[in-house]
């Protein structure tokens, strides 16, 4: 069993979910491993990861709208507001979703279900650059 690691830079141009399944699949390809496990780690506390339905965009729109209703920007109880009204809601939405995700692969292919995609969920309004560490653990093809 061997180990391969890359850091991806993702530009999230707006709040919402941004698919990067292909970028992770390419890291698995570059690892040269046939089967194993890939870990994806988000290095931020105001965006997060989620594996979500990637066929019908209304599913993600409804998810984002529901989360915005659950954690509204204008909550008068928040004390941590230095970076603006979307600062504290971003941390809460992050805590309710995921910082790390692990996905198995076989024959060099991610074993995602038919309707699954891997998304960076940007919770801040302003465009920013995000870093995700991809760690691949696996085995070469048995020959």
């Amino acid at each position: 069993m061997a180990f391969y690691q890359e850091t991806l830079t993702l530009n999230s141009r707006r709040a919402g979910t941004h698919e990067f399944t292909d970028s992770v699949a390419q890291v698995v390809t570059r690892s040269g491993f046939d089967r194993g496990l890939v870990s994806v780690f988000c290095q931020h506390t105001s965006c997060s990861l989620v594996i979500m339905e990637n066929a019908d965009p209304t599913a993600r729109r409804d998810l984002e709208a529901w989360m915005n209703r659950l954690v509204p920007d204008d909550d008068p109880e928040f004390e941590h507001t230095l970076e603006g009204p979307d600062d504290m809601p971003s941390h809460i939405k992050m805590a309710l979703t995921r910082t790390s995700e692990t996905v198995p692969f076989m024959n060099g292919q991610l074993q995602l279900g038919t309707w699954q995609g891997l998304f960076l969920w940007e919770h801040r309004v302003a465009p920013t650059t995000r870093r995700v560490v991809v760690t691949v653990m696996g085995e070469a093809r048995q020959t």
Copy 2:
């Protein structure tokens, strides 16, 4: 360190939490490894994983009822309703819980706490078949 992988098929006959700790423990046994880490990955976006109290069934009933109140089926804001009123709530409940979970093992035994069990949380009403990929990474016993 070596690597072992199996896909489990789970039949979730109703919405709610279904324990499958024993099935994962059996995969660890079949791997033949003495110690390591097992990753469990759910290949769907309308059911999810959770590690929950497995002694008193009222704990899980209360958890399910609370989640159903937080994410009701009849939300008029939802646009993604093609597969019925439980379609979009299922995706949201999935995003709020987990798609992947990792559990350590020692001496061939899952290192779960005394009251912990691993559950598939079915969010759809209609019975369906679910697939979970179990990846074991570990070492044989030192002799």
Copy 3:
């Protein structure tokens, strides 16, 4: 690739978030590995893990207060109340956050973002002892 495992005992003196990033970093150091992945697993169902902003304490205070409003102790719908009014809310808060977390490391250093810390989130009011299993998978430095 090799494998190293330790169980940490954490004393959570009060409900709320307790950082233990340094304890996990020390396990990575003791493993002797240069690069790899560390998995952290919480052996309880009434406390959980979260990776959160660790610079400004108001961020964590707001997160905890928001969660307490979302899942109040005095919910008359709860049936699972044997251990007190904070029993069932603790399980729910756990399910909404994380039981396991994985973090990559390089050059012996955890690859956390600038503002990220790893926290045990105690959801019970009474002081208690908590156990967290830390599993390190990695490689020695190439020489």
